[in-house]
Amino acid sequence: MSTLKIGTYENRTAFRPGAEIAGKVLWILDESAKAVEVRLFWYTEGKGTQDVELVDSVRFDDPPRREQREFRFTAPEGPYSFSGKLISLLWALELVVLPSEETERLEIVVSPSGHEVFLHKGEEIEITDESAGQPL
């Protein structure tokens, strides 16, 4: 099994819309690959059909078996990370080896507060803990 690592600078996992999402990926591949991709995407979990949307990606073709590379994305304006009782929307960074599809994932939060937005009774949007003090 290949070794795959993905990390953000200062281990940040919360990003305001428009903020830079940057970090490094490392791979040590068991066998040669066609490409390695870093993906920024969101997906849903909960009751019903899952939605997934790839928002940005960077691709490294014909990668060496062992390498460390930087990646840099801009956090989009939305959708925000949120959770209700019926659905959660989660953001993640993923390092994917192609064509084997070996994957390493890092979950992140995209929201104005740096925290997941919770939908409460009546599914009204409430942004919690606005001043949580996390440097964003």
Binding site: E45, G46, K47, S83, G84, K85, L86, S88, F118, T128
Partner: protein
């Protein structure tokens, strides 16, 4: 409870794969070969037809086939001209078509579809009724099966007593609906913020 923490969220339930109540996978694949890879998986709603169809795909791939998937459901009751055109344009002699919900096609459309897929290596469909193709398996469920699935999802020793049996009866064996009700029950256990 947050949707992402609900043990009965769709993504978690989808990790539960089809369990054969009768026979073995070897027997299923042997019968499929005898039927020349043209067969139907038949059963009522929530009996595991789609899951079984999905679980055939890697087994067919191991035999060297390429699988091509199509589906119809209540929200998508026909194959659009673009989808149909692209599908047939790329259909090869090594392809086995996995068609979920084939019984939603009209009779004439189904007859045409069957004719146009003659050149493919196989056509396996799911259907609520028998008759579209020779039956490979009739899917059925039992209260014990629902019990086993609940234990698999919640972990060993975390059964829910008689509840799965009651839900099985309430939903007349439809495991999908029973598991959705369990989702609702769990989602009501605590406010979303408690899970933070």
């Amino acid at each position: 409870m947050r949707a992402r923490d609900n043990p009965f969220r769709t993504e978690r339930v989808h990790q539960v794969r089809y369990r054969l109540l009768d026979g073995t996978w070897g027997e299923v694949m042997r019968r499929l070969r005898e039927l020349d890879y043209r067969a139907a998986i038949v059963g009522p709603d929530g009996s595991g037809k789609t899951t079984l169809l999905e679980d055939l795909a890697p087994r067919l791939a191991k035999l060297g086939f390429t699988t091509r998937s199509l589906f119809l459901n209540d929200r998508k009751r026909t194959l659009g001209p673009t989808e149909r055109g692209e599908f047939f344009a790329r259909l090869g002699a090594n392809d086995v078509i996995l068609f979920d919900g084939a019984d939603l096609m009209g009779r004439l459309a189904w007859a045409r579809f069957k004719r146009r897929t003659r050149g493919a290596a196989g056509l396996i469909v799911t259907s609520h009724r028998s008759g579209l193709l020779p039956t490979l398996i009739e899917c059925r469920t039992t209260p014990e099966l629902l019990d086993d699935i609940v234990v698999q999802i919640l972990g060993d020793g975390a059964g829910l007593g008689e509840l799965p049996h009651r839900l099985f009866e309430k939903h007349q064996g439809n495991l999908r609906d029973a598991l959705r009700e369990l989702y609702d029950m769990y989602s009501a256990t605590a406010p979303a913020t408690d899970a933070r």
